[in-house]
Symmetry: D3
Subunit: 238 residues, 6 copies
């Protein structure tokens, strides 16, 4: 049994609060249970230097955690003078996931930066971030269409993510912190709404995993992401 009492395939209660803050073109508070992340999408009318003049846009992402988002306080990265390896790894994952969902040629020479800032952490901050970021990105693109910066929608579909893992010998979906810290294997899966995969990152934390365990985790991820994409669609329909 899971500490949370959830079934193996059950994701946590997920909420997506749009227009959470005032200034960004897209701003979403995403909650996967007790994990809470503010995702804002900011539009700029230029692109990184290496892209200038190529007729293409860019989508990027940054990730951070408030120092006391976690059980004990972490040092503030701005104070220590650099972003840690975990932060870099996560923000690169978010950015790649979002770019896979956007036709960059259709975006034109414009850039969208999505900031994912965790205000409360209870496992799965990167998958919650991708899920919330996709909605913030959709809102920003709608804003660009409404303000004439885009003629048509360059987004190929929703993108969502969930973690799966092997816990007590069994595959489970959407791990919270107590499950994650005790899991043998942790895998993050990012999918488009058509069921195709954008990223699969499985890591043996304690014990290597078999081919069958990988298949079990993938099946749970597919189902969990379907549920999550329904939430995204419902939020955007409001």
């Amino acid at each position: 049994m899971r500490p949370s009492g959830r079934t193996a395939q059950q994701v946590r209660p997920i909420t997506l609060t749009r227009n959470f803050t005032a200034h960004a073109e897209g701003s979403v508070l995403v909650e996967f249970g007790n994990t809470k992340v503010i995702c804002t999408a900011s539009v700029e009318e230029n692109v990184p230097r290496w892209l200038k003049g190529k007729g293409k846009g860019w989508v990027t992402a940054e990730y951070g955690m408030l120092p006391r988002a976690t059980h004990t306080r972490n040092r503030r990265e701005a104070a220590s003078g650099k972003q840690g390896g975990r932060t870099m790894e996560i923000q690169r994952l978010i950015a790649r996931s979002l770019r896979a969902a956007v036709d960059l040629e259709a975006l034109g020479e414009q850039m969208i930066t999505v900031d994912c800032d965790v205000i409360q952490a209870d496992g799965g901050t990167r998958t919650a971030s991708i899920t919330g970021a996709s909605v913030a990105l959709a809102d920003a693109i709608n804003h660009m269409i409404a303000t004439g910066k885009l003629k048509s929608n360059p987004m190929k579909g929703h993108v969502a993510a969930v973690s799966v893992g092997i816990y007590n010998g069994e595959a489970i979906c959407d791990l919270e912190y107590v499950e994650d810290s005790a899991a043998d294997t942790d895998m993050n899966v990012v999918m488009m709404e058509d069921g195709k995969m954008i990223e699969v990152q499985g890591t043996a934390e304690e014990a290597p995993f078999s081919h069958q365990e990988l298949l079990d985790m993938l099946a749970l991820a597919q189902q969990g992401i379907n549920d999550i994409i329904e939430k995204q669609k419902a939020a955007l329909a409001e």
Copy 2:
């Protein structure tokens, strides 16, 4: 007339939401109108190296803004590799203000770090931060008393802050962004609940200010802070 329609002495609607996030010993969302700051107070059972063995505690603060808390996106300080001068100045101000409210000997060799992270900015982020931080600090100290880390309360009283300024030739209280950016003079005042001052920082942004203007601003600040301290007391009484 003020853009907001407020009277000269009127502060914005102020809310203080305690227990805003789950992990910190004190966690407060403070709102001064559209300015919103998460203040968390974290307790550690040790002190900075230079204080060790002196039987005294320490209270410090850090300040940050989410990149899109503002009208246009600011570069993430963690990514640029250092905290800017404005950030440093503000977090030093918050820390001094809080320390003035605490008997550090009575705190013993323990440290409280208050993080103030602005999630939405509309002027007055430093005064909102101090105001919210004081409540988060009170909660953290109550937690320390409840868990036996403190026998008595080392806090000397509530501390609150407000900005005042000269706008269109008149002194006004609690400036929001459109007022702040057009003001001739901006002054931040930090007071204890007994009306004594902890910090007074007046800056001529556009035009030097006279002795009388200083007195006018101080009078408004006194009145505004009284109102704010009532909000703090009410929040802590819930």
Copy 3:
């Protein structure tokens, strides 16, 4: 009685040595008693990127201390890889104070950088810096007029600064180190020669201060700054 034997309102012996070093357009050694600061004003024929094309100039300042300007050696900021918070706070204060004294439109697209480097510290380094910087700035502007870079003088008047504080329950002016480190409250006041204020920064180091104490300190500051501005005028008349 003050450790120095001075009366409450008495400033230390103040000297302003112009042309102290050879290369800068303005170069002043300012001494407030044993506090000694080299202030150089450097002229550049361009402005920061964000000001380009706006027809305005810029005045900025940087502050530093030689490692052994103080009783014990401080780590060299260049070696530790960043300027500390105190340094940033001070150089921002100096820069704001100088900018308040200059009509930036009249300066045109030119920049003046004033470097204030403390070679010996005995309290009041920031107020000595502002005082010396104002004279160095005046010399640089005169140099610009003489060399045809300016047609008229964009400086609105002299700017000077002094510290005041509450020491042994009494307001005193121009604190030296032994007074400063024992004072309950420390306030730095920056004024134009017409008596209007540019910056007022009062900090309760040990005990909050009352409205009356603030007024007492301001009165002393006004008088001290008048004395200091006389010294500035005399120096520039040589």
Copy 4:
């Protein structure tokens, strides 16, 4: 057809040159075709601070590329003052992979750092690094046994890695640069010699991938890694 003329499942010629440099306890030059990486394993008789006194050892890794290991020169990371996100991501992957192969309790309070420095890059530097690092680690552990620092071998088996991808709609194994830069999907797989997986990282570079494509890639990876582990065993048997 692949640009290299290889079949889909064929890995490049792989060589593992032990004792490549003189000082390290383990030193291997690994070549996957034209990709060449120097892997050195260094033994230290202490552990990171957070592990002290826990009776456990640690295995970590660092990754770098000579500036001209690539077609055009990259800026030296030591000169730019930080390791890039890609470097961080890769060295964290290498370190996790090696740790999964070692019983850290059996290692005792000792640390092994494996440095993987790419001297020539032609795709697959991270998988070549893991493969070479495993052999360097084995040599370092043998050295520890020979010098009495270890009584028994804490290594659970060889670990090896290979990249697979979808290129021109077909799954291929061990991509070289021209293939990698044109692939729709790139996946890195790290396995133990018993066929269990340690890491699976699949990324849709151009087009999302289907469940079937994932299975195809995994099958190729399994076969490729078997071949590579034979090379490791042969190298260590010399």
Copy 5:
């Protein structure tokens, strides 16, 4: 007697392996006995900003050591966030030495960067670097001539370097690590093939050196460099 059994004037076996790596315009593995350095010369068709439009080219150099090039592992400079003083000193020496051998006007507005990365250290890494860099530079220039980027050869001659020192009271040439660490004085000499000197850097490690000792060291250096330049010519003739 020297630990190596060499005579006082005898340099170590020296090899220069051209085309050591694939991508650089010049790539040389230089070995002075057990000291091994990869030197790559990279050509870029632009110059540093401060040289633009002056019709001159630039030659620069960077130096690094793999963390375990030495007996014990050194911290990776990219990880510690800066290049150490020794690294900076050495790469400046290499760059000056190479620039002295090139007619920068004849190079035109093009830049050559030579990277010297030590993969195994046994004393004399800076002199081996200069020696190998000269050959890599020659190859890069030949490549530029072959590809039409240069019409004539801007190189004024070969440049080579050797260390000399006072060891057990006697001058010796080309010190290896055990000699270097016990020497009273260490001197690095860089010469053109015509016997003229580019750099002479003598340092009293343990005991100041006399005028006669300086002359003795210079004589050995002259002879050693002649031998080394023969090796360079032979390598380039292959």
Copy 6:
């Protein structure tokens, strides 16, 4: 003829003002003509970590330039976040030179840090720094003897330095800026008062130098340093 009108062997007017600033154990303003450097020697009763428990002391040095010590303003190193290569090279030279003059065992587990800060530059800042630092060091050691921190003097003699160069085909001594920037070769020589050499650093800026030119420069350096050491002795005798 030299621009200065000096003869080839003539050094600039040299002054050494002891007790220039108040707090340091040794504080000297050294002037070589228009080059002016403040040298302070600071005593600490501990040593760097790697020397602890070895019964030896340490002497080190740091070097800096005020931003406007030069004709045009240089960026402040503290603001740019690192010391440049030139600074590092110079401070390492100063430190080595001073250590060569001190018996570190006799110093015991104490450290002396000499800061050399250039307030006005006109060529030869490193040689002026070494010359002034030697006097500051002597004063600091005398202070240590007077306060009982040392029983006997660990200094082996005065150390002084001068630059020499080839200018218009002729060797000259103690180059000022206009000479230095036009010289073919620049050499810095550091000597003990007994005439033995500590450092010789000759650099061909424009044209390689011959053996005879090296001898000519050395002869001038010897004579110049003798003159300078007389100044040191005279200053210390006051």
